[in-house]
């Protein structure tokens, strides 16, 4: 069983933005591995629709930083072929919402190629881009794809909540031999955090304990981890103390750490920015029930988006998403405080 220790802050005083951390991860890996290239819409001349790849065309040239036509299924499939042929493509989806047209390539080909070739043809490729709502982009452009895609065996899913993990997880993703879906958030790209200049990686399948407390286990991944931390701060003022677990990867999922925390707290609230039905939060709770049912002192609770298409109007979108208030309320409910 995993022993839980609080994740120490990065040993640096260097602060950079989330998008810079992503860029650093890609650039560092590209400097040391000539097989890596970045392909996607607007990634080269325009420096990225969200400026993640700013300056990379200048450094690496058009052979390795490649503007693709608006053809997600096309460049996803092309990347798969290149990966099978020994290159290490990073495929940027401007938004994971646009990956839906590439579903056959990324789910039916990338994730299954190894299996269908009897373990022979691996597909080391990273698909990355913005995931989740919150930018008033309307329902079609606001997908949280984690639950939709995590159902499929053969792929890995990383979802960082902060710049340090963004860099470390993306480096691990690029080096991984399997297809990795890397979910970023447009809402977090400007967030700053401590990120060492040098080399480090963050392993897959190891949750980070962001905050310690004995009363309730808060489990989340990606952007809502930050809402959990805000909620935990507020709850601490009322003497309610939470373990906040940042899963960092959804596949693999570090259930051991969740179980270890529940053995201490006896309570769990899972915060998931996607829809409630058959979501990652549901999966976490199912595994918790299988693994440590007897340790639970209250039924598990989910905080998710509402079960409707993402609203376009700002106040409605904010009300629809998980936020601090909803998390505080949920934790109070499971610890029995009104």
């Amino acid at each position: 069983m995993a022993s839980l220790t609080l994740e120490p802050p990065p040993a640096t005083d260097r602060k950079i933005a989330f998008r810079e951390a992503l860029r650093e991860a890609m650039s560092e890996e590209m400097r040391s591995d000539p097989r890596i290239f970045l392909m996607g819409e607007e990634v080269a001349q325009y420096n990225g629709a969200y400026k993640v790849s700013q300056g990379m065309l200048d450094e690496f040239g058009p052979k390795r930083i490649i503007d693709a036509p608006i053809s997600e299924n096309g460049f996803a499939g092309l990347g798969i072929g290149a990966a099978m042929y020994g290159l290490r493509p990073i495929i940027e989806f401007m938004s994971w919402s646009f990956s839906l047209v590439a579903a056959d390539q990324i789910l039916n080909n990338a994730a299954k190629m190894l299996y269908m070739s009897g373990g022979q043809w691996g597909c080391p490729i990273v698909f990355r881009g913005n995931d989740g709502a919150g930018g008033q982009l309307g329902s079609t452009h606001s997908w949280s794809v984690e639950a939709l895609y995590a159902n499929v065996p053969g792929l890995k899913i990383a979802i960082p909540s902060n710049p340090y993990d963004a860099k470390g997880l993306l480096k691990t993703a690029i080096r991984d031999e399997d297809p990795v879906f890397f979910l970023e958030s447009e809402r977090m790209l400007g967030d700053t955090g401590l990120v060492p200049a040098g080399e480090y990686t963050v392993p897959f399948g190891q949750a980070a304990l962001r905050r310690e407390g004995d009363d309730c286990t808060l489990v989340s991944f990606g952007r809502p981890v930050n809402f959990c931390l805000e909620a935990a701060d507020e709850l601490a003022n009322e003497d309610i103390h939470c373990d906040v677990l940042d899963m960092r990867t959804i596949r693999p999922l570090d259930v051991d750490s969740i179980v270890a925390s529940i053995q201490k707290t006896g309570r769990i609230v899972v915060v998931d920015q996607s829809w409630p039905f058959a979501g990652i939060a549901s999966e976490v709770i199912a595994q918790v029930c299988e693994r440590c049912f007897d340790y639970l002192d209250h039924q598990p609770v989910r905080v998710t988006s509402d079960d409707v298409p993402t609203p376009y109007a700002k106040p409605l979108e904010q009300a629809y998403l998980p936020h601090k208030g909803k998390i505080v309320e949920a934790v109070k409910r499971v610890v029995g405080v009104e």
Binding site: L78, G81, D104, M116, S117, Q120, P153, G154, D178, D256
Partner: protein, 372 residues
């Protein structure tokens, strides 16, 4: 003001007609006498493999199988050219070009093993430049373009060729692949076998386009249509396409006009939707018949040789069936090994694998024995 901004011309090439008559001028620098004999023999062996595969399926020894019958000549000529010109060419197949795969080094039993329902049929031997068979329609030309892209990236000389049918040209993937190939000038070649039927949907209902090949014009491909039952034509256009791809970076779209003499697969009965007269007309254009007529007219073939090749085909295919059926049974644990290349940090799957090996998926120790 009015002016013409685009004009196009597409050639149809036939070198060996259905009566076995050769266009000597066009045949120049294509197949030698030995090549023609060799390809006839190979097509005969593949035809026999088809017959046996059909019987294996009917007798419950194999899953679904798509017969190649009637379509051997296109992949035969193209496959031979691919094995000769360029460097380290890659074949990205679907499922009706067996002969091209065999000519490029794929052991025959791999095809049977695949259709018997074994993932190991898609384990390609080292040094054989062929991707696993793609059963979904039209997904793989993108992979071929990806390989072509990677070849250019790595400074290699060969080409990547995808084989697909007329039905696949209705898929968006194929058009995206065609678009990328020319936009980025990668050494990709598209070999479309137009057999007139997408399972039960006839060519006329699939597209309003007068020909399939003209779809390549929109993407800036060099476009050529051939008699797909002609080994000389398919050899010639593939040879030229390889040369063009390497020298100019222009992709070639080849439409091989042929006909599926058999059913779509063993799960299909084409008599339910195809006119017997249409099939009968195409039987007369069978690539084996015309190639044999040609070889006989050149005194390169006779009844004795025919009896020999038929006996040899039986021997070869018998041995192939034995090898495919004789492979050790797959091991249950393999399904977990095949899912991820690396499990570092993946406690979840490591645990899953460890437990499932003994207790997972309802597999108790007593069932374990059944797999021995």
């Amino acid at each position: 003001m009015k002016k013409t901004i685009y004009e196009a011309r597409i050639d149809h090439i036939q070198i060996l007609d259905e009566h076995g008559k050769l266009d000597e001028k066009l045949a120049k620098d294509t197949l030698s006498d030995e090549d023609a004999v060799f390809l006839y023999e190979q097509m005969s062996i593949c035809r026999w493999l088809d017959e046996i595969a059909f019987k294996l399926q009917r007798s419950g020894r194999m899953g679904t199988y798509p017969q190649n019958k009637g379509q051997e000549a296109g992949p035969a000529g193209a496959g031979l050219a691919l094995s000769r010109f360029g460097e380290k060419n890659w074949l990205v197949p679907c499922y009706r070009e067996n002969i091209a795969l065999f000519l490029n080094g794929l052991p025959m039993e791999k095809i049977l093993l695949h259709w018997m329902g074994d993932e190991r049929g898609n384990q390609i031997p080292e040094g054989v430049n062929i991707l696993p068979i793609a059963i979904p329609i039209g997904t793989h030309p993108l992979h071929a373009v990806g390989i072509a892209y990677a070849k250019k990236y790595r400074g290699e000389k060969g080409v990547a060729v995808s084989f697909f049918g007329d039905g696949a040209t209705s898929e968006g993937d194929v058009h995206e692949a065609m678009n990328f190939a020319s936009a980025w000038k990668v050494p990709a070649i598209f070999f479309c076998q137009n057999n007139f039927w997408a399972i039960s949907v006839p060519r006329a209902l699939q597209s309003g386009s007068e020909t399939i090949v003209q779809k390549g014009l929109a993407y800036g491909h060099h476009c050529v249509q051939i008699d797909g039952n002609d080994i000389f034509a398919s050899y010639k256009v593939m040879k030229e396409a390889i040369d063009r791809a390497i020298k100019t970076g222009q992709p070639t779209f080849i439409e091989a006009v042929t006909y599926r003499l058999g059913d779509h697969t063993t799960a299909d009965d084409a008599r339910r939707y195809r006119d017997e007269k249409e099939v009968e007309a195409w039987r007369k254009k069978d690539p084996l018949i015309r190639t044999r007529k040609y070889l006989e007219s050149k005194k390169l073939w006779n009844d004795r040789k025919q009896a020999d090749i038929e006996a040899r085909a039986k021997e070869i295919v018998d041995a192939v069936v034995k090898r495919a059926e004789g492979i050790e049974k797959p091991v249950f644990e393999d399904i977990f090994d095949y899912t991820f290349a690396t499990l570092e940090g993946n406690a979840e799957l490591q645990t899953q694998r460890a437990t499932r090996r003994t207790t997972g998926l309802g597999q108790g120790p007593e069932q374990e024995k059944l797999r021995a």
